[in-house]
Symmetry: C2
Subunit: 306 residues, 2 copies
Amino acid sequence: MSDTPPTLGGVFAAVLTPLDAALAPDHAALARHCRWLLANGCDGLAVLGTTGEANAFSVDERLAILEGLAEAGIPAGTLLPGTGCCAVPDTVALTRRAVELGVAGVLMLPPFYYKKVSDDGLFAAYSEVIERVGDARLRVYLYHFPQMSAVPIGQALIERLLARYPGTVAGMKDSSGDLDNMTRIARALPGFAVFSGWDDLLLPLLEAGGAGCITAVGNVASTLAAEVYAGWRDGGAQAAHGRLEAVRTVIAAYPLSAALKEIMARHTGDDAWRTVRPPLTRLDDAQAAALMEALAGTGFSLPPAP
Amino acid sequence: MSDTPPTLGGVFAAVLTPLDAALAPDHAALARHCRWLLANGCDGLAVLGTTGEANAFSVDERLAILEGLAEAGIPAGTLLPGTGCCAVPDTVALTRRAVELGVAGVLMLPPFYYKKVSDDGLFAAYSEVIERVGDARLRVYLYHFPQMSAVPIGQALIERLLARYPGTVAGMKDSSGDLDNMTRIARALPGFAVFSGWDDLLLPLLEAGGAGCITAVGNVASTLAAEVYAGWRDGGAQAAHGRLEAVRTVIAAYPLSAALKEIMARHTGDDAWRTVRPPLTRLDDAQAAALMEALAGTGFSLPPAP
């Protein structure tokens, strides 16, 4: 473990975005969900990420979501919004506004349309954003998710960015599922906060000096992740880790956003929760029934709905 | 070959976007390049595609490029702009304005962030766009480029879209490099215009009933592609096909936009041509020298610069 505390740490949900029937983000429902997560184990809220369908929203829709959270009184210091777009000007616009609103940091995908780009190109893209935002309060968490972005962020690039922008480049979310990658980076870069994108790797990553997790399953099972996080130093996390892994395994067998929205629809009694924006699709009836039966089989109960 | 003429046909360049030193699109230089291409073998101009770095531009920058082309007097009927974004509202905004300006059609990527999405989800995304644009003049060309978008568009999805939106769904660009896929679709769907994204497949695709090509190499070698297109019916295309393939092989060994911009910089004497937007990078000096030497080795000469 590193002696330097990571910049951020703990349990973050990759927050779902509730939609209305016209597929528009429902700001009130999102704020309600955020408050419920903060009251049930979440240290922070990674809104506007992969699970939150951010890349299905325009920049204006994403800005309106950030403004809506501020107006609803969600503490900006709990927020780690996704701001990485394909186009640098879009990433700059979102990042600048997030920083103005006082967020804890931003989770930044690399530009993800062009594939097999060089580290020089990715360094230039991140540099452009950091310098155009030009704000000392900016804290960037790099988002490594090769299975979805198809643009990996390797350790050599991270080290170049850290050397050039110390204090600003603060950590990463690694959704690769590759524990060796996360632990190697966490050990090599003390003070650089490494979050796992998967719940099952939270405990082993913490043991290797990692910072916590940012996960989709955290939308429903943040209480369990919080038990793991609270218990890992004194060895009391193993039972919660096992229960969390059972829940994660059930949910991860389905498309994540759709499965989690199905669970929230059933839990809250609000059918609107099922709405997703294309290209995602909701679960069909058979999938939904199988999911709920398997989830019940784990013995897990969600905290009371708001 | 189909008896029904395809909606569009011939040689289209996947047009480069010249940038200024601040990485902003240079509208005057783009219009000049477009006029030069139309005067040198191009039947049409696929602006704002992969080669044109469209996904590095914001929606507003792309709209300004379309407006700039109209103001510069580039005939809208020659234009096949790319309009497909990750977010349906962005695709709608670009497509709507392109149609208002009178373009021949739009080349539409699927939403490309989420991977392994279902055909139902992709159908819903294209449906949302077509119905929200709601304009009888709309002609959609689907853009299948699995190596870059990582979201393939298969024949079953195409057939569903054609059945639901006949007349609107007009064709596709297939950049997979898989000739079997292109020819199978061209033969199965008479009247559906199949364009190859690669110059070497232009001749065999035409022989199978395809419509033409939309290629990066067309930015410099459209004269050769035009020879192939003009000669294929009477068997006179083979020599031009061989010369085009030699040029394509040289250029395709490098990142395409950077290599083509290097060639244009040398050909026009305008260093600004070399500027690309992150995450792309320009060729280094050694790459540039090797590219130009290999290109000279093919014996190909570009048409006189404007």
